[in-house]
Symmetry: C2
Subunit: 341 residues, 2 copies
DNA sequence: TTGTAAGCGTTATCAC
DNA sequence: GTGATAACGCTTACAA
């Protein structure tokens, strides 16, 4: 049986070019440390053989992968997509490759993915939100893999983070709602357990009620997972209360879109009969009609700054700094004055 | 200076447990080939040291990564998300990890990503659509990395594929439109160059005109990239023609959502004044109002079957088979009879 | 059942 | 500038 010819190695290239493997390696990694003529010869051999360096071997020898891993809760909605795209673009400029996996909002899956990415030699990790088993951070420290948290700003947390103050942002929005004379307010939130963003947004809404002299416990909250259908269902339940809420704060735009759809299918006018607000300002917020009044999050800025910061941590072993980004309320058509009939 | 203690290796575990590295390796990879007592001891050592196998080393020795790579054109809209999620879930069941990267619809980026993933030892690749430089397939063959194409069904193409017949699907939809007495039809397509799905959908629309005795060249087409804004702009241009089209076929739901928004902001009623159709049946199609009449694509089925097929190719060196999935038209509210005034 | 030792394909440190 | 050569951490015959 003939020996299967497998992918060409450095050695093959070296032999073909009549040089040593060291020279070939230099041609690829530090071209100026090799004389033009030999480099030409080597590159020709590389071309001719269709050589691609073996990544695993390179990693073993160099102990660097130029790879950053990111674990996001879901790819199925656009919340993280835009920020991640900017993250990737910035990394690419700096010579890094991004590997993404999604945990489906399950902590144990996230943990597994973290270990997988570390085992694969990720030079650094991007994680979403602060809530997780602290042992994971012990593990990352032992493995010396720097990690940065995004989509949430919490100073002095275990890991440096870049994001916005979810609590304050929702408080500002709720305050705006109350300013329009809404007093019967409800909220459709993402599942708050293990999700600091969701939890802080709830707290923010309560803060607003409190500051305006309303009872924070009067806020009826339904927690549900982040899908359009769930938003619709939750809306149906909340609106059946009597007297029904005149404004419904949603934990994100996807839930808000679901709520809106449900309102419409129940023959309710938004915002005349009931106001609905979103959070995130993803594309969807402008697509639905009425367009959503929501909280704009600077996704791209967050992604690119996260990349810069993380690369800095990786390359200079710095602890990483925590960065706060500003959000702003964008007023569109889904929020109007209360109709307290 | 004290030696920095780095991540524990197999050797450390072996020493701690008082066995050889081979035994530790076996405990991890073939637990039944080791006696219970020693395994206990080894596992304790693993636990105590917080050992994680070094992936690169493992790959070098075993020549398998249990990793599948996927390169999708974009993460920024939901077209690929659901199918990819199913793909990942199925792979996970089979013990594989999925690595995803996005090419931003740029062929040269896709090519680079393919090389990156191969260099990283991906055991197999999932690619979207058939249009690409054929040299890439030569390369993959040389590297012996099986690849499967999804989102497009083309028999006898260079790579096996799983998907649907884009041409036939759009033809069926256009036929339905014509059956509602539309004769002035326009199309908002994705950029067709380097995108067989977009191209075939255009062809399908023309086929329908032809079969119904209409002039296929009467189909005015605007090609644009896949974002809501582009759909809106294209709609504005098409509708300004006189007489204006009564039905606008969109290359996907995102473009359709943009067209719909633009129609509404111009005070046009859909479908009374103009009909709009989508393609893909992503969540968005049900969120907008009127909800989109569109082509339903079995995304999850496509993803999981692609995984099965690709794993089969990887594990048994089979050539892979080409699988055709069925689409169906879902009638909602954005398509109505022509108003030929 | 367990241990020994030979790779795996690079990079990096020295000499030359 | 270039060439030997020793790691890097693991898997896997083969031997014991």
């Amino acid at each position: 049986m003939s020996k299967l010819r497998s992918a060409p190695t450095l050695d093959d290239v070296a032999r073909q070019a009549g040089v040593s493997t060291a020279t070939v390696s230099r041609c690829l990694n530090a071209p100026d440390r090799v004389v033009e003529a030999t480099r030409q010869r080597v590159m020709q051999a590389v071309e001719a053989l269709g050589y691609t360096p073996n990544f695993a071997a390179r990693v073993m020898a160099a102990k660097r992968t130029f790879t950053i891993g990111a674990i996001i809760p879901t790819m199925e909605n656009a919340i993280f997509a835009r920020g991640l795209q900017a993250f990737q673009e910035e990394l690419h400029k700096r010579g890094y490759t991004l590997l993404v996996s999604s945990s489906a909002y399950r902590p144990e899956v996230e943990e597994e993915q973290i270990r997988t990415l570390v085992a694969r030699g990720a030079d650094g990790l991007l994680l979403i939100g602060h809530d997780r088993n602290p042992q994971i951070h012990d593990y990352l420290e032992r493995q010396k893999v720097p990690a940065m948290v995004a989509w949430s700003y919490i100073p002095n947390a275990r890991a440096p983070s870049i994001g916005f103050d979810n609590r304050q942002a929702m408080q500002a929005l709720a305050d705006r709602v109350i300013g329009l004379n809404h007093t019967r307010i409800a909220m459709i939130s993402g599942v708050s357990e293990g999700n600091d963003r969701a939890r802080l947004r709830i707290e923010g809404a309560r803060d607003a009620l409190r500051k305006r002299g309303l009872n924070p416990d009067s806020l009826s909250i339904i927690e549900t997972s982040y899908e359009v259908e769930n938003g619709a269902e939750a809306f149906a339940r909340l609106i059946s209360q009597s007297p029904h809420p005149t404004a419904i704060l949603c934990g994100n735009d996807v839930l808000a879109a679901g709520a809106l759809r449900q309102a419409q299918s129940m023959g309710l006018n938004v915002p005349e009969d009931v106001s609905i607000t979103g959070f995130d300002d993803i594309e969807l917020a402008r697509i639905v009609s009425p367009a959503l009044t929501t909280v704009h999050v600077p996704h791209r800025e967050m992604g690119s700054k996260a990349a810069l910061e993380l690369v800095e941590m990786v390359e200079n072993s710095t602890p990483g700094s925590t960065i706060r980004l500003q959000t702003e309320i964008v007023e569109r058509q889904s929020l109007g004055p209360a109709n307290n009939s």
